[in-house]
């Protein structure tokens, strides 16, 4: 067999890890013959010697769900960690996980923050910022791998203890010395199931409140104070951890970049709907496009909604799916994959010429590119968006405009998103492309400001809206895990991992705000354990919103609104009278606008929203004159 060959035994799939081994199918026990050997060894020995590995059904299935053999032998030994509360989130379960998959990493608390910012736990040698050498932990001594322990370790005052789940393959492939293993590959943050802080800290909440870097997502629910008397000024890292030279694997380094790109896409895309609620009257935690992309990544069984739109080819191309691309998409991919600190004008000019030529040399397109290169981005994208043939060129222009990695582009792009883009669909493509360009690490952990939120959704305005993943649902962990698989293992298949994380990680209930009911409809739903809040302004809400923009405090029979509502509001009015003029009866009334709003909120008057909306608009026009 050559390396990578698959064979089956007793219904289990195995894979050869070296060239030249032979599977002796007839022998009941000694069935694997190593290269050049006459004697065969057992499956167990072959596994131990690293000749083969067991392929589990779906990525990391055994890790979180299927009972490991050692577990069954040892009984159900579990750790239980009390979790602190997170504002707005209530922990409903305790963490439970099997001991033999769990490893412990004492790391400098700054390094832990760097891991969270990256969404990846990685050996120090892959640290682009070159910070690692100055961290005070075992990883600095052994930068080419992740040093993990089978049991909790003593912590220095400035360290935390990360509790990390590994899958059997990772355990098998790691080098081990006693109770220490050296994992040479990065591990996704989805495997982080606990963070212990030194026992000297009085309160978890106060400790966590000190983690204030804007790019660090802090999963508060994972923190706990170490149970052992486990902080000391001297631990024995220095004596026990062998100092190794650092050598980065270019394949892994490339995979880290890919993972950062994939995570960036999903994180930047997730809030798209929130930026457009003023335009659409619709607010949801995740746009449909997010789940349609998830469906492609995770498989249909993981996201069962059938009404999702087809994902845009651009987003799939950014995620390295094999899709048919246009010249503009190719140009966007070139820019996204460049690791340059910003995109130079000449590079854009060159790609613009290609797009112009390959899309039929349209004068409008040339003119818009010229406007863009002269610094007038906003005029250029308006032109690009007007024509179907150039809609993708608008995304290209946005990438150029916000390409400065040293700037605050990842924030400022959102300031005028709702003005710059005529539709949320277009804006989503911009966000996905920029998310890929900046990468996950560069993004903020949460929104600093939400621009253009519909006034009726003000009840949500004080919420802290996450951008990066805070590990609050199994769905999120599953998504991270699968993006990791795509980046590091290049697997392109429909992942059957809906049950992957099972009950091994905490589950949450996000508090649902009390809604201004008649004004907002609630169609909140779940995707697996992920709560997706979804609110829409009702016709009554739209009317009230419109009424508020009309700069009058009272309504009378002279206005269109007054005429339409006269029969319903007459007896609620502050002033009303019946008079006769030239023998004709006439009704006069004047009612406070706020009173009308209250009547609508209380459902005490009925109306046809379309007619009333029309009447208000007419009045706004008339009274503006």
């Amino acid at each position: 067999m050559i390396k990578g060959s698959i064979f089956y035994r007793d219904g289990i799939e195995y894979q050869a890890l070296v060239d030249g081994i032979e599977h002796v199918a007839k022998n009941k026990f000694y069935c694997i013959r190593p290269k050049g050997e006459t004697k065969a060894v057992t499956i167990k020995q072959a596994l131990r010697n690293g000749l083969i590995r067991k392929n589990v059904p779906g990525p990391n299935y055994d890790l979180f769900n299927a009972p490991a053999k050692k577990d069954l032998e040892n009984g159900k030994e579990k750790y239980v960690v009390e979790t602190p509360s997170r504002p707005g989130i209530t922990t409903t379960e305790k963490i439970g996980y099997r001991k033999n998959n769990l490893y412990f990493m004492p790391v400098d608390q700054l390094r832990a923050q760097v891991f969270l910012a990256h969404g990846l736990i990685y050996p120090a040698v892959y640290d682009k910022a070159g910070l690692s050498a100055n961290f005070d932990d075992a990883l600095s001594l052994s930068p080419a791998d992740l040093t993990m322990f089978e049991s909790p370790q003593l912590l220095k005052k400035n360290q935390v203890l990360l509790k990390v789940l590994l899958n059997p393959d990772e355990i098998l492939e790691a080098g081990s010395e006693g109770d220490i293993i050296h994992v040479t590959v990065p591990i996704p943050i989805s495997r982080l199931v606990g963070i212990e802080i030194p026992i000297g800290n009085a309160s978890v909440d106060r400790y966590v409140d000190g983690w204030v870097k804007p790019d660090v997502p802090v999963p508060r629910h994972l923190f706990s104070i170490a149970k052992d008397p486990s902080w000391t000024n001297e631990n024995d890292d220095g004596r026990r951890i062998p100092r190794t030279s650092a050598k980065a694997d270019p394949y892994l380094a490339n995979s880290i970049t890919k993972f950062d790109r994939y995570m960036g896409i999903m994180a930047f895309l997730r809030n798209a709907s929130r930026y457009f609620s003023d335009k659409t009257g619709f607010y949801t935690d995740y746009p449909d496009e997010f789940f349609s992309v998830c469906q492609c990544i995770l498989g249909r069984s993981s996201v069962t909604r059938s009404d999702l739109p087809t994902p845009a080819p651009l987003i799939l191309a950014l995620l390295d799916f094999d899709v048919r691309t246009t010249p503009t998409i190719d140009a966007i991919l070139t820019l996204v994959r460049s690791q340059e600190p910003y995109i130079e004008k000449e590079k854009v000019r060159e790609l613009a010429r290609v797009i112009y030529t390959e899309t039929g040399k349209k004068t409008t397109l040339a003119q818009a590119f010229k406007t863009l290169l002269n610094g007038d981005y906003r005029s250029a994208i308006q032109v690009f968006q007007r024509f179907e043939c150039s809609a993708e060129a608008a995304i290209f222009a946005a990438l150029y405009k916000f390409s400065g990695r040293q700037s605050n582009g990842y924030r400022t792009v959102k300031q005028r998103l709702h003005e710059d883009w005529s539709s949320q669909t277009q804006a989503q493509l911009v966000l996905a492309a920029l998310g890929a360009y900046y990468g996950y690490t560069a993004l903020d952990a949460a929104e600093t400001t939400l621009y253009s939120v519909h006034s009726i959704f003000n009840f949500l305005k004080d919420e802290r809206v996450d951008i990066k993943f805070h590990l609050t649902s199994n769905f999120e962990r599953q998504l991270i895990e699968t993006l990791y698989q795509r980046a590091f293992l290049s697997k392109e298949k429909e992942y059957q991992n809906i049950e992957l994380f099972g009950e091994s990680v905490p589950n949450f209930k996000i508090k649902r705000p009390s809604l201004p009911r008649p004004l907002v409809s609630d169609t909140t739903y779940y995707v697996q354990d992920l709560l997706v809040r979804q609110y829409e302004v009702t016709p009554a809400g739209r009317i009230i919103d419109l009424l508020k923009t009309w700069r009058r405090d009272t309504i009378d029979e002279e206005s269109e609104v007054g005429k339409y509502l006269i029969s319903q509001c007459f007896f609620w009015a502050g002033e009303y009278e019946l008079s006769k003029k030239f023998g004709k009866k006439k009704l006069h009334y004047r009612i406070e606008k706020s009173k009308v709003i209250d009547l609508i909120v209380d459902g005490k008057i009925e109306f046809n929203p379309r007619i009333l909306e029309f009447a208000i608009k007419e009045d706004i026009k008339a009274y503006a004159k």
Binding site: Q109, L110, Q113, V114, L116, A117, H118, A129, L131, N134, F135, N158, R206, D209, G210, V212, K213, P214, D215, V216, E340, P341, Y342, E344, K345, R349, A352, R353, Y356, T363, A366, Q367, F369, K370, T371, L373, N374, G375, D376, Y377, R378, S379, K401, F402, G404, R405, Q406, S407, N408, G409, R411, T412, V413, Q415, T441, A442, T448, T449
Partner: protein
Amino acid sequence: MRATPDGIEMLRMIDDDNFRGALVTGCPGSGKTTVSIYRLVRLNNQAHKVRLVTYQNMLVLAIQNLANVQRVPAHRVSTFHRWYCRLIDGGFDTDSPPTAQEMVTALDDKDLANQDMVELLIDEGQDLPPCVYDVLPRYFQRIFVGADNGQQVHPCHGAQMEQIEQSLRSRSNQYRRFTLGRNFRNTYETYRFARQFIPKTNRVAWDEAILERLLHANRRGPIPTVVTYQNVESRNAHLQVTLQNAEGNVAILCPLGPLPRNFNHSGESVDEVHRLIENMGFSVSKYHSQADVPRELHRYVVTTFKSAKGMEFDTVIIPRINFFKEISKEWFVACTRARNQLFVYRDLSVPQCDPIEEFEIDTFDSQPAETHITLTEDDISF
């Protein structure tokens, strides 16, 4: 301040509480203010009594805006004068500061010692007189000062770093000194352009190591745009488009505050430019030493070169770089406020001081103001 690309020394400074007095020094843009802001955010989050004071009104507003995003109440940030004068119900004259004993008496009267203040953060500490450092440490558990002799606004009455250090040291042996060595604000392109305003004899500004460090840290960005104009109308038309396309916080910087009596050059005065930009339909704040301090800062701010000191903006626009006299340091300060993009308008119509005339040609992108208005339908060469 981010956990990933910034220096570890900055990250450590935010979390370190093992001192009674600390002094952080470093070049412009090295992150002294940023460290103070994040210490403020952390300590406020952890429910400690903490206060940040600085010297300039504009900087207070900018810090309040930044801290507000992290839910720090605005009242935790103020100018030193505002805080101190309110506290003692009296005054503080920087030109003729009180003696240490007078300060102690005033503060003891107000029982500051029993207010359980955990930390006082002083930004731009070089602009406050030495008596401040002799006295205030005794009222706080910790005092954290950011200072740089090279950035003193009023050398005659400010404290030198060495004086600050001596005062903090004499108070407690739990003293820490941090030094920040890298410029985190500017890109290589902006700094390379801006240093040309300073004579080459100035070794600090012309230290090649600064550019090397910026290159090494990959702090790169678009080269500054110099827009040349012959008449003010075309400049204004271009300026309007630039403002419409400017991202993030935008500073429009002028050498003068109020409109001078013998006014004849548009773009020199804050008052005139503010009016101009307001008439273009932008919501814009203005500040100079003779104007009221705005209550809040809009995204667009018009202010003087001097008032912008210590601040940073995503985009900086200088509506007229020419001036009747050489103001090298101010030009340099104005240009180095830019984090990302810098636009400089250069008036070619008046034979007045033109500092850009001798600049290296590859350090900026020169563009005539008329570009935006001369595009024609059939012009497709791009």
